[in-house]
């Protein structure tokens, strides 16, 4: 579907305060709302993003990578590198130069050959949260306690909280018709705080350009890590598969949270409604009573397509209706993820 281009409402700025990024790419210039200095009174606080009710449900879980990842520090996750660690990986023949400490003397006693023990290194995780801030994320139905973007921000904040608690690096990329904010994964305490601050100032607007944003993320991540996509994935059913394939090819672990309002799922409106597309502006005047069956069928097909694209590449997919309790959803998902690790 062709979409109207959005006016130049945003300006470019560098999220690192002008410093070059460590991987040597051109400074990731991102766009932020021009009225950045204006405080939005509706902006949530960190306490609202990380509500105690939600945290108490996910507090016993860890956000673990299901694939080996690369990191600089020791952590909970299996590292790409083998060496010192607590988890035995395999034996290999001793070659001169190996540390004699790694020789397994019991095997030598049985086989009279030197074998050294190789351990799986445990490292920290680079967790990158990719958040869709397009205008379609601004919707809030009557059965939801908050809008889709707010809900997505809360989910992202919870994941960032879990990552920071276990010493992982957290990064954030928000996008709409362009990259509106890019915070590379950083392990230090200030990195997570910057993520929280950025999540607080999110504002929905613009037409989502998923391809541009996801390509940017894929190019920006040089180390294996965890990529969390939070979006409604509208207009992405065709491009999602290629993107996740690219992520998986780069050995990233990925999670897709599809945030939808309950209204989008069942179209609960009566009488005649003039629907206005929040991104494209197209208007459709129709009677929801008469088109409800066709709509739900199309919506289910869309959801199935997204889900299929994710699952076919071992990417976790989670449908997140904004009317549901976020703590329950995350706890159930993390529990399942730990179980199948």
């Amino acid at each position: 579907m062709a979409r109207a281009t959005q006016g130049p409402r945003t300006r470019l700025y560098c999220g690192h305060g002008g410093r070059r990024r460590p991987h040597g790419r051109p400074a990731a210039c991102v766009r932020r709302a021009e009225n950045e200095s204006e405080l939005d009174m509706s902006s949530p606080t960190v306490a609202e993003l990380l509500s105690p009710e939600t945290l108490v449900r996910i507090d016993n879980y860890s956000l673990l990578a299901r694939v080996v990842v690369e990191g600089f520090l020791s952590g909970l996750h299996r590292s790409l590198y083998q060496g010192f660690g607590s988890e035995f990986f395999q034996y290999r023949n001793y070659v001169p130069g190996d540390d004699p400490k790694t020789i397994d003397w019991k095997v030598y006693g049985r086989r009279n050959r030197f074998y050294t023990k190789v351990f799986q290194e445990e490292t920290n995780l680079n967790c990158t949260l990719v958040l869709d801030c397009s205008a379609s994320m601004d919707y809030q139905g009557q059965r939801s306690v908050c809008g889709k973007l707010r809900y997505a921000a809360m989910a992202a904040a919870c994941l960032a909280y879990l990552a920071r608690r276990q010493g992982d690096s957290v990064g954030l990329c928000t996008y709409a018709d362009g990259i509106t904010s890019w915070l590379p994964p950083a392990r230090h305490h200030d990195g997570a705080q910057r993520v929280f601050t950025e999540l607080q100032r999110l504002k929905a607007g613009g037409i989502a350009d998923h391809g541009k944003a996801l390509n940017f993320v894929a190019e920006s991540l040089t180390r294996r890590g965890l990529v969390v996509l939070v979006s409604d994935f509208h207009e992405l059913e065709d491009g999602l598969e290629s993107f996740v394939r690219r992520l998986r090819f780069a050995h990233h672990d990925a999670i897709a949270f599809q945030v939808l309002d309950r209204d989008e799922l069942d179209l609960p409106f009566g009488r005649t409604v003039r629907f206005v597309d929040s991104e494209g502006g197209q208007e459709v005047t129709t009677a929801p009573d008469l088109i409800r069956n066709g709509y739900t069928q199309a919506m289910n097909a869309f959801l199935e397509q997204i889900r299929g694209a994710c699952l076919s590449h071992q990417v976790d997919y989670l449908l997140v209706p904004t009317s549901e309790n976020l703590g329950n959803l995350l706890a159930a998902y993390l529990h399942r993820r730990e179980a199948i690790r």
């Binding site: 579907m1 379609s136 994320m137 601004d138 919707y139 059965r143 889709k148 409604d232 509208h234 207009e235 309002d261 309950r262 209204d263 989008e264 069942d266 609960p268 409106f269 009566g270 009488r271 005649t272 409604v273 003039r274 629907f275 206005v276 597309d277 929040s278 991104e279 494209g280 197209q282 208007e283 459709v284 005047t285 129709t286 009677a287 929801p288 009573d289 008469l290 088109i291 066709g294 709509y295 199309a298 919506m299 869309f302 009317s323």
Partner: protein, 669 residues
């Protein structure tokens, strides 16, 4: 049983019932605008075109219509009454129409009479077969009547021959007479032909008999552009000249140009006058009376000529009766000295102004003195002799608007106490100054209130001897703030005080008209002092009796209740305008100016007043009557019904909306 409405015009509001129906039929359902995340999966629904125009939610529409209709009916104030005939034995069967024709003065306006005859003829032509007619001619009373069954030709001839009288209308007797005729079975109708002037129908408070159809016909739909002479007073300015002040009032709401002509004796003067809408103009004329007492102020004619002429008394008014109360009728010399000085003082008039006629009354006879025609009473040292009845009589006189002038006598403390005890003066006597004076010791007056009644007369101190004569004794009074002081001594003690009592006043002089107390009666200031006080007590126009045509001549009495000298001749008639004198009392008789007013009853209001069910029916003097149950107002019931319907409609709407929303929600949500 009969159902009616107090405000039937409100029933026209039922036409508004069409509005919701039309809106329901014509209005398309306006779609709600909703900003939705994605419209990709939405497709346009094929809405059935007739679905927007059909009557949906029919029950809801009916509820709304019923609520609106009930509200309109409640505003119309419906009532219900049931009539129970109790022995009505009037002429049975055929209908009866009674014509009540207004013959008050205002019906003499130009063209009204012809219109009255025309309306009566048209109404007579509408009479049904066998229907009887009757006639009541009404002005300030019933001038004549023709019983039911009178031939229409005779009735019409009587209406044609009837002439309006120069009297103010009062149709209560005429309505009562018509009510007597309108008794019996069959349709009954009262046709009132009147200009519906407000004053004429003001006294009509008795409702008509039940089931009488009232029909009001106004032969003068538009009030004439009337200008009237409303007042004319003459004041002598020389031996044979009088100044005449004429008030001309424009009752119309447009400016008028008229000419005023004043005649006294053989002298005539004319002046044009320009009158803005609803304004009064005052004109002054100076004419030679030539010894005539009859004056006439006349306006150039307009559509209503009855109030264009005003007759007035052009000669000097009769002397004003004044009562002087002395302690004893034949007391020792010195006690009636005050009356002597007073009589001389009031009798010395310049000659052209109205004088005073002093009648002396003893204190013990005061309580039986007729003060109805007296504006002023001098109590000259006699208040100390008053008993309770005399004080009560004096208080009634003052309360009714009279003025009393009190001076001390031999026992001033008793006077002050009596006046205070009877509510005539709020003062205390401190002492009698000079009672034990040394030889040659005296006081003088020192201050005149410039805003009081004496302020103008004694404005120039160098031209008066008011402050020069010696005062050997006077009462030192302690007054409250309610009393006004007109004179003070040089030491600041009040000498002449005034206190209001009801509509009248009480003057108290702290020294008597006695040369042992002061030389006041011997000074040149004495006459103007007494006369100014007396003039201030006489109301304007006093002495001339002004009557409307048709009013009864009052009985003129003197202070002893005597009706004057026996007059063998017939009493003068007040039926026509004119000026005459009864004894010494001049009388002006003119057409009532109440009929000049353009104020008219609204026909609906008058109908409601005459047919109102709320008023208790008056007792009728003849014939059986039909008793009415008092009308029961139905509007509270209808209003309650409207409120209930409105609540039901709101509850229904709310329930329907919720049900619809719930129907849209998925199960379990």
């Amino acid at each position: 049983m009969k159902i009616g409405f107090e405000y039937p015009w409100f029933l026209a509001g039922l036409a508004f019932l069409a509005i919701p129906v039309l809106l329901h039929l014509m209005n398309r359902e306006m779609p709600r605008r909703l900003l939705f995340p994605s419209t990709r999966f939405l497709r346009r629904a094929e809405l059935p075109p007739e679905g927007r125009r059909r009557l949906r939610d029919l029950l809801l529409l009916l509820l709304r219509l019923a609520a609106l209709a009930a509200a309109v009916l409640a505003f119309s104030r419906p009532w219900l009454r049931r009539a129970a005939e109790t022995g009505a034995t009037g002429a049975a069967g055929s209908g009866l129409t009674v014509f009540l024709v207004d013959l008050s003065s205002s019906m003499a306006a130009r063209g009204v009479k012809e219109r009255v005859v025309e309306l009566a003829r048209a109404e007579l032509a509408r009479l049904g077969r066998g229907e009887r007619a009757a006639l009541v001619l009404s002005a300030d009373r019933v001038l004549g009547s023709m019983p039911p069954g009178t031939a229409p030709d005779r009735l019409l001839a009587a209406v044609d021959a009837a002439l309006p009288l120069p009297v103010a209308g009062n149709h209560a007797p005429g309505l009562r007479e018509a009510g007597r005729m309108l008794v019996g079975d069959g349709p009954r109708r009262l046709v009132v032909i009147s200009d519906l002037q407000t004053g004429d129908w003001q006294m009509c408070r008795e409702p008509l008999p039940p089931d009488v159809e009232l029909r009001l016909l106004n032969p003068a739909e538009k009030a004439p552009a009337n200008v009237a002479v409303t007042a004319a007073t003459a004041a002598p300015i020389a031996a044979d000249r009088s100044r005449v002040i004429v008030d001309v009032r424009n009752f119309a709401d447009v400016p008028q140009e008229r000419t005023v002509t004043v005649r006294v004796g053989t002298d005539t003067q004319t002046a044009p006058v320009s009158l803005p809408a609803l304004q009064v103009r005052r004109l002054s004329f100076a004419l030679r009376t030539g010894g005539s007492a009859r004056g006439e102020a006349e306006l150039s004619a307009d559509d209503y000529t009855a109030d264009d002429v005003l007759h007035f008394w052009a000669a000097s008014p009769p002397p004003v009766p004044v009562v002087a109360v002395v302690p004893e009728a034949d007391g020792p010399r010195g006690q009636d000295l005050q009356a002597f000085f007073l009589t001389r003082g009031l009798a010395s008039q310049p000659g052209v102004t109205a004088g005073f006629q002093v009648q002396t009354v003893a204190a013990d006879a005061f309580f039986v003195t007729d003060l109805s025609a007296v504006p002023l009473v001098f109590v000259l040292g006699a208040a100390e002799r008053f008993d309770v009845a005399a004080f009560e009589h004096l208080r009634e006189f003052c309360t009714g608007g009279g003025s009393a002038f009190c001076t001390p006598g031999a026992f001033p403390a008793q006077m002050v106490h009596g006046l205070r005890a009877n509510g005539l003066l709020d003062a205390r006597l401190e002492e009698v100054v000079g009672q034990n004076r040394r030889r040659g010791e005296s006081w003088t007056l020192g201050w005149v209130n410039p805003e009081g009644i004496l302020g103008e007369v004694f404005a120039k101190a160098e031209q008066t001897d008011l402050f020069l004569f010696p005062v050997r004794q006077y009462l030192r009074l302690s007054l409250t703030a309610s009393a006004a002081v007109h004179l003070k001594s040089a030491t600041g003690d009040p000498i002449l005080a005034e206190q209001g009592v009801g509509r009248g006043r009480v003057f108290v002089l702290a020294l008597p008209f006695d040369t042992q107390w002061s030389d006041l009666p011997l000074t040149a200031s004495f006459l103007p002092l007494v006369q100014e006080v007396a003039r201030s007590a006489v109301p304007a126009g006093y002495g001339i009796t002004r009557l409307d045509c048709g009013q009864a001549l009052p009985e003129f009495r003197d202070v002893l209740g005597r009706t004057g000298a026996a007059d063998p001749g017939p009493a003068p008639s007040t039926a026509t305008p004119g000026v005459f004198a009864v004894g010494n009392h001049p009388v002006e008789v003119n057409v009532t100016r109440r009929e000049s007013s353009p104020e008219r009853w609204n026909p609906y209001d008058l109908t409601r007043r005459l047919v109102t069910a709320g008023a208790a029916p008056a007792a009728r003097t003849a014939g059986p009557t039909a008793e009415m149950d008092p009308a029961k107002p139905l509007w509270p019931v209808v209003a309650l019904l409207a409120a209930v319907l409105l609540l039901v409609e709101m509850a229904w709407t709310l329930w329907t909306d919720r049900r619809e929303v719930r129907g849209r929600l998925p199960a379990g949500s």
